[in-house]
């Protein structure tokens, strides 16, 4: 058992002076003062701050590798067909990717890794911890199954260049409808022959899986909502760049949203509406909001910048931290396993030498499943 003593810890939406214990990779006890037994390891963190490990619910780390040039490490879009539900992110992840290393060194202990946005149906996403040499051992198994989808311009830019269907937004919805209709036919057919592609979509229609849908513009969000009503499936809006421009509409959707990356230039018309204000607006509207880095779009060594920038809107700091911890955990269905400090949860936490909202503070150590796996000073080492 590991006894962590002396730190200010972030628990139950506030900083508290509590010791805590870790056993078998899980958090096993919290108390103002824990007395270590003879076989316990003690970690004295007086003057330090402990927060739950951050969760980034939307990344491409390990798939779209850093430091590998343009081609060799790019496995993010299987652009041979506009609907590839049969492909799995887990099969393409390189755990040694600098992007994953950045994640753990800068405080992100869990990431969701998904295919890109070139296909209407991109494939299955996966939730992993950010330390390990084998991706299988990194999987967060409590997570709900994920089917990545995408709407809007990225699709049409990709396929119109190839002069292939769908080259316009007219046909993006049509591709999805066609596949979901095929899945319905598949499920209804008593003589069906099992295909993995159809099983993935059947999972979605049975609500065992949830759709994670890349989308920017409001009109595309409307189309998603329309199709989700037609076929009855659960979904999350990823990016949702313009959703805040119609709050009343946003409220009617009753779906989680994952905003970001927000610290980018709104240079294309797709990202025209990008603003940190969207976080505030949608939080105040009562939505379940998370923030993504879209790493490596925003590399995870910059993850805390987003927290600082949201903090400029003077939101409740508990709400802000939730954007990067509890909320993504809930969205991914892993909130019982990680995303906060509590008994029985994974011992995923970060140790800082100051308040996490103090930009001078540094992440001294990152713990995953109770093991120290990194920290800002590790950067140079690995």
């Amino acid at each position: 058992m590991l006894i962590v003593k002396g730190a200010q810890i972030w628990k139950d939406r506030g900083l508290k002076r509590l010791d805590f214990s870790v056993e078998g990779g899980k958090l096993s006890g919290f108390s103002p003062s824990l007395l270590p037994g003879p076989h316990d390891e003690v970690l004295n963190l007086s003057g330090h701050y402990v927060y739950p490990g951050l969760i980034d619910p939307h990344t491409h780390v390990g798939l779209l590798e850093e430091e590998t040039g343009n081609f060799a490490g790019d496995d993010v879009n299987e652009t041979t067909s506009p609907a590839t539900p049969g492909v799995r992110a887990i099969d393409g992840i390189n755990p040694m990717d600098a992007g994953i290393r950045n994640a753990r060194n800068y405080g992100v202990t869990t990431v969701c890794v998904m295919p890109g946005s070139a296909n209407v149906i991109g494939g299955e996403g996966v939730v992993i911890k950010t330390a390990g040499k084998s991706v299988d051992g990194m999987v967060v198994s409590s997570a709900r199954k994920i089917v990545k989808m995408a709407f809007g311009r990225n699709i049409t830019w990709t396929w119109s260049k190839k002069e292939k269907y769908p080259s316009t937004r007219l046909a993006v919805g049509a591709v999805l409808r066609e596949k979901l209709n095929a899945a319905k036919n598949y499920m209804a057919n008593p003589e069906r022959v099992c295909t993995y592609e159809m099983e993935v979509l059947a999972n979605l229609l049975k609500k065992e899986a949830i759709a994670r849908i890349h989308v920017a513009n409001l009109e595309d969000i409307e189309t998603i909502a329309r199709i989700a009503r037609e076929f009855d499936f659960d979904y999350v809006l990823d990016h949702a760049t313009a959703l805040h421009t119609n709050v009343e509409f946003a409220k009617t959707l009753k779906v989680p949203v994952i905003l970001g990356p927000l610290n980018v230039a709104g240079k294309s018309f797709q990202s025209y509406d990008v603003t940190f204000a969207s976080v505030k607006i949608l939080l105040e509207a009562g939505l379940l909001v998370s923030v993504m880095s879209d790493a490596p779009v925003i590399p995870l060594n910059l993850v805390r910048l987003q927290l600082f920038l949201v903090d400029r809107y003077r939101l409740d700091r508990s709400d802000i931290l939730d954007l990067f911890t509890e909320n993504p955990a809930k969205t991914l269905g892993i909130e019982k396993q990680t995303g906060s400090l509590g008994i029985g949860k994974d011992a995923d936490f970060i140790v800082l030498d100051g308040d996490i909202f103090d930009y001078r503070s540094r992440i001294r150590s990152t713990y995953i499943n109770g093991n120290a796996v990194g920290g800002e000073d590790y950067e140079m080492d690995s």
Binding site: T168, V172, A174, N185
Partner: protein
């Protein structure tokens, strides 16, 4: 909330213009006449202007290539497959297209949004009205109001470049026929499955739409410029017993008897443009005059963004310069498109019970200098 509009000349379309008043309640016309008696919460002074029903642009691509967004944002044509009935303009519509507001400034408050003409079988159209909302859903008047088809140069050019069928007019007709025949087979197969009480029938989204066409639930909206293409369209209509509207109909005057006989409505335009294609060679504003004289159901189109919907009214005015009856041209902007689109119970004239889709003009709409000074949707500010 009841509002009264006073001090206007009412151009109701169904009656001769007269000085009158009207009352709007819950977005509908509650009363209209020389004077209105109901008590109201608000009075709008029409300042002696002309009150017209909102014009209806029966054929537009508004919202599919929003203003100022360049070619990368062009969703008019899914030109990757000659048969794409499954695509829907509603899915691609950009409700914040600045052209919607501008069109309202030109008195156009209702648009039927179709796919382009690259594909012999294009996709599903829908109808929107101008509202201040940034949601498509708040603008929808009616969904899936017709299946776009196309003949003539455009499919040939698009698929000719790919060396793929169709590269000829014959090929285009064959592609359309095959699709409709597939639809007929599908209906039969479905009926058989139902009769045999099979536990399972494999639905096909492309052919579900053919079924709607073949059962006359929705019309085919077919792009034709040249006379021979119109006659081919009518031939196919007769063969399959479907409903049809002919779009553009540039060479209408050459086959006016045949079109009249077929009973097919036509949506004419846009004629206020140059003639970059050979098939537009004989384009003339006189077509409007001819169609009005023939008494066929006829509407004006902008084909926006080919021609800006905002100045649809001036195209109608040019038709008058070329001999068309002025009242007839107002009907071609209002009640006739409403009838063609099947929304005349709600739109197209100023009558009690209809939607209060209205504009007040400070001058004659066919005079370029005239302005809309009020409509029923916007928090009004001048141009």
């Amino acid at each position: 909330m009841r509002k009264k509009i006073t001090n206007v000349t009412i151009h109701s379309i169904v009656q001769k213009p007269y000085k009158g008043e009207l009352i709007i309640e819950d977005g509908k016309i509650a009363e209209v006449g020389k004077t209105c008696s109901q008590t109201v919460d608000e009075v709008i002074d029409g300042k002696g202007g002309l009150c017209f029903p909102g014009f209806i642009d029966a054929h537009s691509h508004i919202g599919l290539n929003a203003e100022g967004y360049g070619f990368e944002y062009d969703d008019v044509n899914e030109m990757t497959n000659p048969v794409t009935p499954e695509v829907r303009t509603e899915d691609a519509f950009v409700p914040t297209d600045a052209a919607l507001k501008e069109s309202a400034l030109g008195g156009v408050l209702v648009h039927c949004v179709l796919t382009g003409s690259a594909n012999p079988v294009g996709g599903l159209a829908f109808i929107v009205r101008h509202t201040p909302s940034n949601l498509t859903g708040d603008k929808v008047v009616q969904r899936d109001v017709g299946l776009k088809m196309a003949t003539g140069e455009n499919p040939k050019r698009v698929y000719g470049a790919k060396n793929q069928m169709p590269v000829t007019r014959m090929g285009t007709a064959a592609v359309i026929r095959k699709y409709l025949q597939d639809g007929k087979n599908y209906i039969e197969k479905k009926a058989k499955a139902e009769k045999e009480k099979k536990p399972f029938f494999e639905t096909d989204l492309k052919l579900e739409i053919a079924e709607k066409v073949l059962k006359k639930i929705i019309p085919v909206r077919i792009h034709c410029h040249r006379s021979e293409d119109m006659l081919t369209a009518i031939r196919i209509k007769e063969e399959f017993g479907i409903r049809m509207v002919i779009e553009h109909a540039t060479e209408y005057l050459k086959v006016r008897e045949e079109i009249k006989k077929s009973g097919v409505p036509v949506i004419l335009g846009p004629f206020m443009s140059c003639r970059p294609k050979v098939e537009l060679k004989d384009m003339t504003y006189k077509t409007y005059k001819g169609a009005l004289e023939d008494g066929v159901l006829m509407a004006c189109m902008s084909d926006h963004p080919v021609f800006p919907s905002q100045v649809l009214r001036l195209q109608a005015g040019m038709a008058v310069a070329y001999g068309a009856d002025e009242e007839g041209m107002f009907r071609a902007l209002t009640i006739m498109p409403a009838q063609i689109l099947g929304i005349d119970q709600d739109f197209g004239s100023i009558e009690k019970g209809k939607q209060a889709s209205l504009c007040i003009w400070d001058g004659h709409p066919f005079d370029a200098r005239s302005r809309v000074i009020w409509n029923d949707q916007d928090s009004w500010t001048a141009l």
